[in-house]
């Protein structure tokens, strides 16, 4: 049994999601290789080689892979699959974009958003926005999975696998990268952050959202998230959205401010270790999942919380 893990990286470094997907691959048993597909991604490949339990890193480098678009990834990965029984992608937008193309070319169905590995062919995944959990058996000759990284512990970084260079696909391809607009922030990335401070519609405006959440996030060294209601109302950018249709997070500490706790939102954060909710409606569903609930107006409670954190030396 050999499993190929597709690395999540930005060419310069490996994202923690990769280590988590490696853990999922190891749970299937057998050898685990990691593919780093990128452009000038030597540093990322070297970092992948240090992930514990990895047999070998395949490093494909070329201009066609600079943005890890779906068509070149398909062209690269499908031929590699003659040597593997399964391929695991992180359930990131990059992984979700490319994995089904690989599955279709291999004539297999894909398992999406896997949150548990019971054996080499039995997996657990959520359906209906996490309102039901299915255990499925995949008896297909090749398995293609996208894996929800937050459901797995990250593999350590004490390994020393070899790095093998393989050719990047040449193209041409029928899609071309034009531009990107990435949110710039000194804060940790939402899905990788150890602490997350999230705001909801109760914040009332974009100015208020940032005025209340940004200082608290900075104090805690936290990423900032938002409910879908807050995003739809324009208080926070799209990529802040935590929930089934947005990002799934599982930090050590999740602080929900003015978030009522729609099922959609809970699906994206209920695996957090400790959940704190601040809401003036004591009947809000968020309190049913919160470890610590504070009922009251965020306008007075958040400044008090800031003061108490300062007193506590945070």
């Amino acid at each position: 049994m050999a499993v190929l893990v597709i690395a999540e990286h930005d060419n310069a470094s490996i994202k923690d999601a990769t280590n988590k997907v490696v853990s999922a691959a190891k749970a299937m048993g057998g050898d685990v290789d990691v593919l780093v597909a990128g452009s000038n991604a030597g540093a990322a490949a070297a970092e992948a080689a240090k992930i514990e339990g990895v047999r070998k890193v395949l490093h494909a480098d070329g201009a066609t892979l600079a943005k890890q678009m779906a068509e070149p990834l398909e062209a690269l990965i499908v031929p590699l699959m003659s040597g593997y029984d399964a391929v695991l992608f992180p359930a990131s937008t990059t992984g979700k974009n490319a994995a089904p193309r690989v599955a279709a070319k291999l004539d297999v169905n894909q398992l999406s958003g896997v949150i548990g590995v019971e054996s080499a062919d039995t997996f657990v995944r959520p359906i209906y926005a996490g309102n039901a959990i299915v255990t499925v058996q995949d008896g297909q000759a090749k398995k293609v999975l996208t894996v929800q990284p937050t459901a797995f512990k990250a593999a350590g970084s004490g390994g020393s696998a070899s790095v093998e260079t393989i050719a990047a696909p040449g193209g041409p391809f029928k899609s071309a990268f034009v531009s990107e607009e990435m949110a710039k922030s000194d804060r940790p990335e939402l899905t990788a952050a150890k602490r997350v401070v999230s705001g909801g519609r109760a914040l009332g405006s974009s100015e208020e959202f940032h005025k209340v959440l940004d200082p608290l996030a900075d104090k805690l060294g936290a990423a900032v998230g938002a409910s879908r209601a807050a995003v739809d109302a324009g208080y926070a950018p799209n990529d802040y959205q935590v929930g089934q249709t947005g990002k799934v997070v599982a930090p050590e500490l999740y602080v929900a401010i003015g978030i009522s706790g729609a099922i959609q939102h809970l699906a994206g954060m209920k695996d957090s270790k400790v959940i704190v909710a601040i809401n003036k409606d004591e009947e809000a569903p968020i309190f049913q999942v919160a470890d610590y609930g504070l009922v009251g107006d965020y306008k007075t409670l958040v400044p008090e919380l800031m003061d108490e954190l300062t007193k506590a030396g945070v």
Binding site: V102, E181, T191, V276
Partner: protein, 254 residues
């Protein structure tokens, strides 16, 4: 330009999902079924390409064809798409769950017959949350794809699509014909007006079966059991910010 939009009939998104007590699946009996919200956004975008609006020139699309793969009742889902403004429908009648790969194979055959210039799909169905059909279809056709679209701009022979990706937005050019899958913020679908609902009843729907396209829809994945998610037990209410900070210190998360 001809636009084809596949649509799926799913449990209405406002309804609570109940797992059957014997763990054999989700209980759908006697519950309201609706068009998948992401598919509704796809139909809306295609119709705007025809009517003009949402940044599209009038008549950018000359015909909008809706396709559904599902039970007899998926006709209602197609009527819903026709009421928004699609011109005609194709129902591929199939009972039980049809997996994304089989759906993609049926759609490939429909596309080879219909020859659309653009196919717009929802990025995922809110029942099985696979987020796979559009990408699979693109691979089977060897077409380019732009998934998770929040903006589509049509040009001669290509489309410029802005995609919602982790960390921001990415813009791609795709040669037509192409596959585009919709994200939530592409548009806000209209409510179909009563006259349009009446008109939709007269629009044609072709009925086919997977066998007509030579596609085997038997499942590849075996569902062993369906369970409720683990309940997170609610914690305690604290009285003040000071007590909260104390608890967080105890829990070791500060």
């Amino acid at each position: 330009m001809k636009v084809l939009v596949p649509v799926k009939r799913v449990l209405d998104y406002n309804l609570k999902v109940r797992v059957k007590p014997d763990g054999s699946g989700v209980d759908l009996s006697n519950l309201k079924m609706s068009i998948n919200p992401f598919c509704e956004i796809a139909i809306e975008e295609a119709v705007r390409m025809k009517e003009g609006g949402g940044g599209h020139a009038k008549d950018a699309a000359t015909e909008v064809v809706a396709v559904s793969i599902g039970p007899e009742q998926a006709q209602e889902t197609l009527r819903n798409a026709l009421a928004i403004g699609a011109d005609r429908g194709i129902l591929v009648k199939a009972d039980g769950d049809v997996e994304p790969l089989a759906v993609a194979k049926i759609l490939k055959a429909v596309i080879e017959a219909e020859k659309p210039d653009l196919v717009i799909l929802g990025k995922q169905a809110i029942d099985d949350d696979s987020n796979a059909t559009g990408q699979m279809l693109a691979a089977l056709l060897d077409w380019p794809q732009a998934t998770f679209a929040s903006k589509i701009v049509l040009h001669a022979g290509k489309a410029t699509v802005t995609r919602e990706v982790d960390g921001g937005l990415q813009t791609l050019d795709v040669e037509l014909p192409a596959i585009v899958t919709t994200d939530l913020r592409l548009n806000e679908p209209r409510y179909a007006s009563l006259p349009n609902i009446m008109k939709a009843k007269k629009k044609p729907i072709d009925v086919k079966t997977p066998a007509d396209f030579g596609v085997d829809t038997s499942p590849r994945i075996k569902v062993l059991k369906t369970a409720e998610p683990a309940k997170r037990s609610g914690g305690i209410k604290v009285k003040s910010a000071a007590e909260l900070v104390g608890k967080l210190k105890e829990a070791g998360v500060l």
